[in-house]
């Protein structure tokens, strides 16, 4: 499956913040059904890379292609409509709203129904059921009526991913979906995410610091360092690379 045409790729993508070369010429590709781990030390530019792909920032140079089309200049909302969704390093949820509503709003938006003002939202049984199914896929069905702010950290992380997932994306970019979660919970979360995205053949890029997770769940690992891609390959290859060991594993060995 990895030999497939990439669904999304970037060519020499650059984003500078003044002197800081956060993303400095990244050429990256991802294919349908592939789970790619993006790793690198703090400040390597991983989040910025996601921000540029999703249109949060415009790149200073380079191109982004999606399904063969140049989408470098497309607006954020347009990219979402096309099927590129993301989650956030720090959870971005509707704190006061229930888990159900957090997901339901994404479903409504995907179906182009957020403009409907003449019918109560509870009357859209199909939307509600779909939202509940998505919550169930992430093990959150019991929490449907709980406000996001009252969920424990691990579940908020999952909900954040569930919201992105509700957009039925073809490319899913997850920024540290397990950060701030106990290592036992991490595996539960990753299993849920990976089984769900594999079922749907979603091209998924996961930014992650925990090497157990990285090597355990990804098909391919991309290492970023100082805004550039330092190495890239199968998990075993990356594990054995001296350069990566020195620059990255050495640095993060003691990290939480």
């Amino acid at each position: 499956m990895i030999s497939q045409e990439p669904i999304l790729y970037t060519v020499d993508l650059k984003k500078y913040f003044g002197e800081v070369r956060a993303v400095d010429g990244v050429s990256f590709r991802i294919s349908p059904g592939e789970v790619v781990a993006l790793i690198g030390p703090n400040g390597a530019g991983k989040t910025t890379f996601v921000n540029v792909i999703t249109g949060y920032f415009n790149p200073d140079a380079g191109k982004i292609y999606y399904q063969g089309k140049d989408i470098t200049k497309a607006s954020r909302t347009k990219k979402i409509r096309m099927g590129i969704a993301r989650s956030f390093q720090l959870v971005n949820l509707y704190a006061e709203l229930t888990a159900l509503d957090n997901v339901r709003i994404a479903v409504l938006s995907r179906l182009g129904k957020t403009g409907i003002f003449w019918k109560p939202v509870e009357r859209f049984d199909d939307v509600r059921n779909e939202a509940l199914e998505i919550l169930a896929a992430f093990g959150l069905e019991e929490k449907a009526e709980v406000p996001a702010k009252a969920l424990p950290q691990g579940e908020r992380k999952l909900l954040d991913v569930a919201v992105a997932f509700a957009l039925r994306p073809r490319v899913l970019l997850l920024d540290e979906p397990t950060s701030g979660v106990s290592s036992k919970e991490k595996h539960t979360i990753m299993e849920r995410i990976v089984s769900t995205v594999r079922n749907e053949k979603i091209a998924t890029m996961i930014i992650e610091h925990d090497m157990d997770i990285v090597f355990g769940y990804s098909d391919r690992v991309v290492v970023m360092y100082d805004g550039k891609i330092l190495a890239e390959g199968k998990p075993e290859e990356i594990k054995q690379s001296r350069e990566v060991q020195e620059k990255l594993l050495g640095v993060t060995a003691g990290a939480p």
């Binding site: 989040t47 954020r76 509707y94 509503d101 938006s109 109560p120 009526e145 709980v146 009252a150």
Partner: protein, 360 residues
């Protein structure tokens, strides 16, 4: 869950119907002397401010935008009713209402277009500034608007029937106009309820709760805020139109920033996080103000103090206070829902300043 939610909705609808029924009985109570005409009159003002408060709350409560300029749309509605007859003659009130809706829609489209580019305090200041424009215009165009003297507004035919020609003004206001007003209130209540509970209403909540996330599920935040602004402005204009006839007189006071503040107060006092908050707030506000006015020139001061005390005592509004009392009573028989468990803080998650997800 579904049956629980639908039962809640049903109970609410029954509550509204009872409320409307009680209001519908008021003229009868007045006739038999249970309620004074004066109180009924105050109730009419309350109903009008309730419409404005509900409309305002589409922005504050549901979109998280504090408008300090709702007097503008109210005044545009009121002045349209007051001034249009000069040009189109003495028509039925519906025609004037329609014109008022169009006028307030145009003004709120224009003002909203500018204001939704901002949020928080900047939004509030912008709406305030734009309203002062309307206020100044009303004063400057005195040959049309009567300047600070304002314009008298006569009673209007309703539904094409010239009640105004065979009824005295008090009789007209306390009977036919009262029911007309109540009807419009019921319709507005229904429409605004529908809007805030619709998918569109959920999208507004999303923009209120988390702008970034809303955008990243594909909601066009500014556009939706603009829609909300226009809807809010139009219903406020409707309230202004009704006010013109009830009050019989419109003055620049209705465009004044103090009046904008009154609308804010109505919502905050009642509880802007509750759909019904502005209705309750409006009734209390109108009556408190009336009695405060008895104290001559200090009435603003007294009104302000009373309201500040009320807000301090009930930070989430009177609805919030009632709600927590109700919850406490219910908690006696049932375990509190998980929603009330304290939020765990994600200290472990805050490891970097640049999260790429959160603006500002």
């Amino acid at each position: 869950m579904t049956s629980h939610a639908s039962r809640q909705v049903r109970n609410k609808i029954i509550g509204y119907l009872i409320f409307l029924l009680v209001l519908a009985l008021i003229p009868l109570f007045t006739r038999i002397g249970l309620v004074t005409e004066f109180v009924q009159n105050l109730l009419m003002y309350s109903i009008i401010f309730a419409i404005a408060g509900l409309a305002f709350n589409i922005l504050l409560g549901y979109s998280g935008l504090l408008s300090f300029g709702h007097a503008a749309y109210f005044a545009v509605g009121a002045y349209t009713v007051a001034l249009a007859p000069q040009f189109i003659g003495n028509t039925s009130f519906e025609v004037l209402i329609l014109l008022a809706l169009v006028a307030s829609a145009i003004v709120s489209m224009a003002f909203g277009y500018i204001a939704v580019r901002l949020t928080r305090i900047f939004f509030a200041i912008m709406t305030l500034a734009l309203t002062q424009l309307v206020w100044a215009l009303i004063l400057k165009l005195y040959w049309y608007t009567g300047g600070s003297d304002g314009v008298n507004v006569r009673a209007k035919p309703l539904l094409g029937i010239p009640f105004n020609e065979f009824m005295s003004r008090p009789e007209y206001l306390n009977t036919v106009f009262y029911y007309y007003l109540l009807g419009i209130f019921a319709i507005s209540l229904f429409i605004i309820w529908l809007i805030v509970n619709s998918p569109f209403g959920r999208a507004l909540l999303a923009t209120r709760e988390n702008e970034t996330r809303a955008e990243f599920v594909g909601i066009r935040v500014r556009l939706y805020r603009w829609y909300a602004f226009i809807i809010s402005g139009v219903f406020t204009g409707l309230a202004g139109a009704l006010f013109a006839v009830l009050n019989g007189h419109v003055t620049p006071e209705q465009a004044d920033w103090i009046f904008s503040g009154d609308i804010v107060f109505v919502a905050v006092l009642g509880g802007f996080r509750f759909f019904e908050g502005p209705i309750l707030g409006s009734i209390i506000f109108t009556f408190v103000r009336q009695y405060a006015m008895g104290y001559a020139i200090f009435w603003r001061l007294i009104l302000g103090s009373v309201l500040i005390v009320l807000i301090l005592a009930f930070p989430s509004g009177i609805m919030g206070a009632l709600n927590s009392i109700a919850n406490r009573i219910r908690a006696g028989s049932r375990v509190l829902p998980a929603a009330t468990t304290p939020t765990p803080t994600a200290i472990t998650d805050i490891k970097h300043h640049q999260d790429g997800g959160r603006e500002k």
